[in-house]
Assembly symmetry: C2
Homo-oligomer: 454 residues x 2
């Protein structure tokens, strides 16, 4: 086959996978309800030059290229299309530099988030973005999907930590964007354009990341509420009073029960909503006490501050297990990612409960409450066509509600295949036209991750 032969001219044999049993396992990421095609070949380059060779070959032969990280994404952005080259960056996993004076790290895209986090910790530094999949997901994937995590309420999202990029363009040329300085405004911000572009504009092969000083270990509290509305009132009070929690998460009753069922963690599963707040300040106990009082005033029936880091970790572990636990409720789940202004969070949660009732479905919700970013998770039986249809419709209703409340269809998971139609609704025709125009500038042949985003 011409494609394979051409690829072999610039890649070592072990970097090219063609066995359909093997390549098939690269067909999709972790999203439900997203179509995936059959790749022609999977390539695993180890150098920038090899990536350039792949892109030059793809351009010459007009073959679509689907870039992949660890395939932990939740929107199908890494799903293969028929006959494509899957370009997996997982072998480019070197940490090139960690610089405590400049507070930067320079990495290849295949570095695992947790590996980088631990490596910079050893220098007294902190790389905040912490998606729930942080032990598996790669920095390149984080950049492609503009990942968030639990820390965002204080530290922001991946985009805020990407200072500069090396990118292989569709035609194989190498582009360097941004800087390794703390500031810089030389021309349009191409770096930021690549963050969240889901591999549709170029292949990130190196990133300069900003780091923070490592904060003190965080200390958490849990507060039980008789309603999600009361919990949301507490969230608004906490933020309006100027507190800076390092984490502010909400679990609804369905989520709490699912976690207890799976892991017997002894969460208070008769309660309607559990709020978890943490502080990594010099005096976390004082901050927790103040926040505990606000929770009580908002109607919390019980406030339990962790007294040790180990207790805090246990609470956070419960939160991190939520999606996995909800996946056991039925045979399939669809996780949503609607983000609303935090002042509208209660309406979002109440509305989601009403949608669950309307469709006769179980929808568990956990939320990065401090950010107004909810993850309603629809649990359904994939073998039941009617329930699957209702699941899909409820998912649409949830996004419509988010937009109606002044929110966005995606806070941190991205658009991929899953939310293409909804992206057009959120952006409107003028926005879509301009976004397509930008896509054409970077990828005139349309070979970079076609069929995603638009």
């Amino acid at each position: 086959m011409d494609l394979i032969a051409r690829l072999r001219a610039g890649l070592p044999g072990e970097a090219i996978l063609t066995d359909p049993d093997v390549t098939g396992s690269y067909a999709n990421d972790m999203a439900s309800f997203c179509e995936a095609g059959t790749p022609a070949v999977v390539v695993l380059p180890r150098t920038v030059e090899q990536v350039q060779h792949v892109m030059r070959t793809a351009s010459e032969l007009r073959v679509p290229v689907v870039p992949q990280g660890a395939r932990t994404g939740l929107s199908g952005a890494a799903n293969a299309s028929d006959g494509c080259i899957v370009l997996s960056l997982v072998k480019m996993d070197r940490i090139i530099e960690i610089n405590p004076v400049d507070r930067i790290a320079v990495v290849e895209p295949g570095v695992i988030n947790a590996v980088l986090s631990r490596a910079v910790n050893e220098h007294g530094l902190y790389y905040p973005p912490d998606p729930s999949s942080w032990e598996q997901c790669s920095i390149g994937g984080n950049i492609g999907t503009a990942s968030g995590g639990l820390c965002c309420v204080k530290y922001g999202v991946t985009a805020e930590y990407v200072l500069g990029l090396d990118v292989v363009l569709a035609d194989g040329r190498l582009l360097t964007t941004g800087r390794r300085t703390a500031k810089g405004v030389a021309g349009y911000d191409l770096t930021r354009l690549f963050v969240g572009s889901e591999g549709s504009l170029g292949i990130v092969v190196r990133a300069v990341l900003a780091l923070k000083p490592e904060p003190p270990q965080q200390l958490a509290l849990a507060a039980e509420f008789p309603s999600t509305e009361a919990a949301c009132r507490a969230v608004c009070e906490i933020m309006a009073r100027g507190h800076a929690p390092s984490l502010l998460e909400l679990m609804d009753r369905t989520s709490i029960r699912a976690v207890n069922d799976m892991a017997q963690m002894g969460l208070p599963d008769s309660t309607e909503a559990l709020l978890l707040a943490a502080f990594d300040t010099p005096e976390p106990a004082a901050d927790l006490a103040a926040v505990g009082e606000l929770c009580t005033a908002a109607g919390a029936t019980e406030v339990v501050p962790a007294e040790t880091a180990a207790e805090s970790d246990l609470l956070l572990q419960a939160r991190r297990l939520t999606l996995t636990a909800l996946e056991r409720v039925k045979s399939a789940t669809m996780i949503d990612d609607v983000c609303v202004p935090r002042s509208r969070l209660a309406e979002m949660l109440d509305g989601t409960a009403a949608i669950a009732e309307k469709y006769g479905l179980t929808i568990g919700v956990c939320a990065h409450a401090g950010d107004g970013n909810t993850h309603p998770t629809v649990c359904f039986d994939a073998a039941d066509p009617d329930e699957s249809r209702r699941a899909r419709e409820s998912f649409d209703d949830i996004m419509a509600l988010g937009l109606q409340l002044g929110g966005t269809i995606t806070g941190e998971h991205g658009v991929g295949v899953l939310k293409k139609e909804w992206l057009a609704r959120e952006l409107g025709p003028v926005g879509v036209e301009l976004q397509r125009g930008i896509k054409d500038v970077f990828d005139p042949l349309g070979i970079l991750n076609p069929g995603k985003l638009f």
Copy 2:
């Protein structure tokens, strides 16, 4: 005249200025050495619809449009071109919303930075970006040039506070970008693309800005050093040890003397470098003590912590006066804005001193030292052609040095007319080609601030 008549069809009479004596005063911003043309007309719209009318008219007649804020910019980005419409946004100066729960403000572009800062303070909130011109400059101008300021070392630049925009496009259509939520990754980040685009992609008519809780009042110290190299060593130590100063500024001997000459502030003008550090933490005195020790260890001959907010303000006032003071040294100044990795700051300062000596010029340097962002200010006699030529050449040498040290030609002032050639050198041909491609998507007729950036 057809242009004026067409403008009158959608603008009230007082919004159109045609008297050449008046329009001439809108010809340029505060940059030196930047050409400026003669505008055909100045328009001062008060509504989005009026801005749309201006852009539709300009598109139909193919007339260039130069958007302007308060014209405090330092790169000529707001300079008129011959026959253009100057589109001044200063009359669109409403603060539309301040929301403490969502921690956002919604504003029109003509709002003065200091007016917004004070307005949000009244709600216990903080809008960090604080360019030296903050009492004059407008938020729209800050967005156009991606302004920085003294607070950036802790709080980052304007770009990090712009969540969403309403933009009138070249053809008069209205585009809404971004969001009013804490997070959001729906499509390419057009919001960030507009920040720093110097009016070359569209006219910002409304902005959703992120706010922070108001921090405690900051407390500063001053440390005297026998060399800029020793002061830079202290800067590196402070940042490597994980301190989070709210301000970390350096003034060289020339700057100190200029300020003393102008304002008799009693700064220690026999010292080679003065470092100013401040903390807005709960215990600033403790942080200042720790930083003071690092300064002493790095060679400081004297460390003077302010004991009151008033003393701190005085120190910061000296720093804020530096540019004005340097402007009195000779008949003209050129202020540069090179940003290097902070680990290279000492080399940047030593190299700048060598350049001053080579050209026989006075170059005063103040720096946002914590960011590695230096403002070498060339003082020269504009009536002396030879000295003017040397000033221009030294300016080029300074930018070349910045690039050589891994830095950028502009940390926060932008490119405008002043640094067009240097932008091409920093970006390289591939980067320029892509940036021009983006420009063409938004402005196919090339009427938006032509001749700037590229």
